[in-house]
Amino acid sequence: MNIFNLVSKNLLRRKGRFVFTLLGITIGMAAFVALLSLGSSMQRELRAQAGMLDANLVITPTNWCAFDQISILTGEALPESLHYDVMERISSIYGITAVPYLTQRTAIQNLPVMVTGIYPNEMKDFRRWEIAQGVYFAADNERAVVLGSSIANNFDLNLGDVLTIRGEPFPVIAVLSPTGSNDDTSVYLPLTVVQEIYEIGPYISFIVARVSDITNMDSYIAAIVDVVNVSVTSDEQLLSTVLTMLGSVNATLQLIAGVALISAAFGIANTMMAAIYERRREIGILRAIGGKSSAIFKIFLLESGLYGLLGGIIGVVVGFVASIVAAPIIAQSGISVLMKGATPTASFDVSIVITAILFSIVISVVSGLYPALKAAKLTPVEAISYD
């Protein structure tokens, strides 16, 4: 017999209560882990998207909020709000290579798909696209579409198929090689064609630019805002803005999970307090046969710690499973534009596992502290005389 044996036998004595108390901490931990795991996978995804943007500067209208800017990374359709004139002026600045984006929506097989109006050749060079099938745009006003690889795969589209956009048929002339970025999830048309069929006029959504000397970023930004009234953000700034926003969303969600955990902690404290009153006589017996008050303290603390350990382990497993199940649902839900392009794939992260289990143990031990102290303070006689 050792203390651990004694404790495990105690825990399993009242199976119903054990299970319910354990469920409390398990659910709290599962929520916590699921949110942590989704949050970190989204951060990773956004970082990857930002890297794939492969731009140094993102030029947007001055009235855009950070939320709009996120959409550049996540691949959302954005309003046309920069005059085309801006593009020409920026292009004329020495050392800057810029490409315009005009993003709109269409539907294929009743599912929403993004349509991007581009400068065919400039964009192909800028994004280093390779053609998997077919022949790329031959002219800047060709009335045809080039598909991102995911679009072609997901909708089973082939060369020669015809897409109807705004009531007009467009043949598929080429499919891009996979890039691993949001480029795979759009349908491309020449900019002027998109402006015409969507009746937009001489407007674009945003511009991304690459500079020839990245050590001199500030002077490029100054040069741009000097010639046009736009907001210029470096990709680093953009990413940090997005991550800050994502961070605050994550923090809020984790706070909610935290509240669940705190109530689970009170559940443990409550169970342990009830156990003291029920097991008063038992505490007295243990004291009478030689148990020190420190041993009683240890027994009760170990019991609550075990709730934390078991709840933590089960919670981590359930949390990861939940995040794997929830990730695609969240990605498709309309309420979560934030997560949209960044298909969050929950991944097994050892640091989350260790942090969560330790956290769960600490919470349980802390909530068991007061009951354990109470139990240890009982004198043998008052405990043993209890009926």
């Binding site: 017999m1 004595r13 004291r287 020190k292 008050s293």
Partner: protein, 234 residues
């Protein structure tokens, strides 16, 4: 008495604070010789159990001293008292006080766990002790599967777990039928023969008659002369 293993000096115990106080023991002086068989008798509510709790270090006196093996245990810290209970004293209670979720063997082993005996040695010794009380076949039985007499024998085996010099028993047969009582007493007498000091709180006059020393408690005092046990036996 020079070879007293337990000795008390002017032992007082007052329960309660403020206005309502119960004077449970009023200056008890007694000596229990090493290896003796003693009974503490007296009417209910006159301080027998309180005295036993103080002798065994389960409680502390309001004033006065308790010496166990020459050591004044009334001034010891809680931890030290626990050590004394582990090493020198074994308790047997009227209602057995076994841990219900543990088997007979595990109950005995738990006491040895506090005596810092290795789990392997615990099992071996628990088996021997169960053999001593004729319960080898009940090692894996839970208390609820045992009769009252059997539970009390397990409780006696547990009291012997750390090989203490003194066994303090609070009405060990008070809750048993006569057949079980005889069986339990038989074991207690056998254990006494091994040299253990046995102190029994009891209402059983028969048992008192068979013991070497009898201390009668009335109104929190040892009746008759404080230093002289009442010899009831023939």
């Amino acid at each position: 008495m020079t070879n007293a293993i337990i000795k008390t000096e002017n032992l007082e115990k007052i329960y309660g604070k403020s206005t309502i106080k119960t004077h449970a023991l009023k200056g008890v002086d007694m000596e229990i010789p090493k290896g003796s068989f003693s009974c503490i008798i007296g009417p209910s509510g006159h301080g027998k159990s309180t005295l036993m709790h103080l002798l065994g270090g389960l409680d502390k006196p309001t004033s006065g001293s308790v010496f166990v093996d020459g050591m004044d245990i009334s001034k010891l810290s809680d931890n030290k008292l626990s050590e004394i209970r582990t090493q020198k004293i074994g308790f047997v209670f009227q209602f057995f006080n076994l841990l219900q979720n543990l088997t007979a063997s595990e109950n005995i082993q738990t006491a040895m766990m506090f005596g810092k005996i290795s789990p392997k040695a615990q099992k071996k010794k628990a088996a021997k002790l169960l053999e001593l009380v004729n319960l080898s076949d009940k090692a894996n039985a839970k208390p609820s599967e045992l009769s009252g007499g059997q539970q009390q024998r397990v409780s006696i085996a547990r009291a012997l777990a750390n090989d203490p010099d003194i066994l303090l028993m609070d009405e060990p047969t008070g809750n048993l039928d006569s057949e079980s009582e005889a069986e339990v007493l038989k074991h207690i007498f056998e254990i006494h023969k091994t040299g253990k000091t046995i102190v029994i709180v009891t209402h059983n006059q028969e048992l008192a008659r068979k013991s070497e020393f009898v201390f009668e408690i009335r109104d929190g005092k040892i009746s008759d002369s404080p230093f002289k046990a009442i010899q009831l036996g023939s």
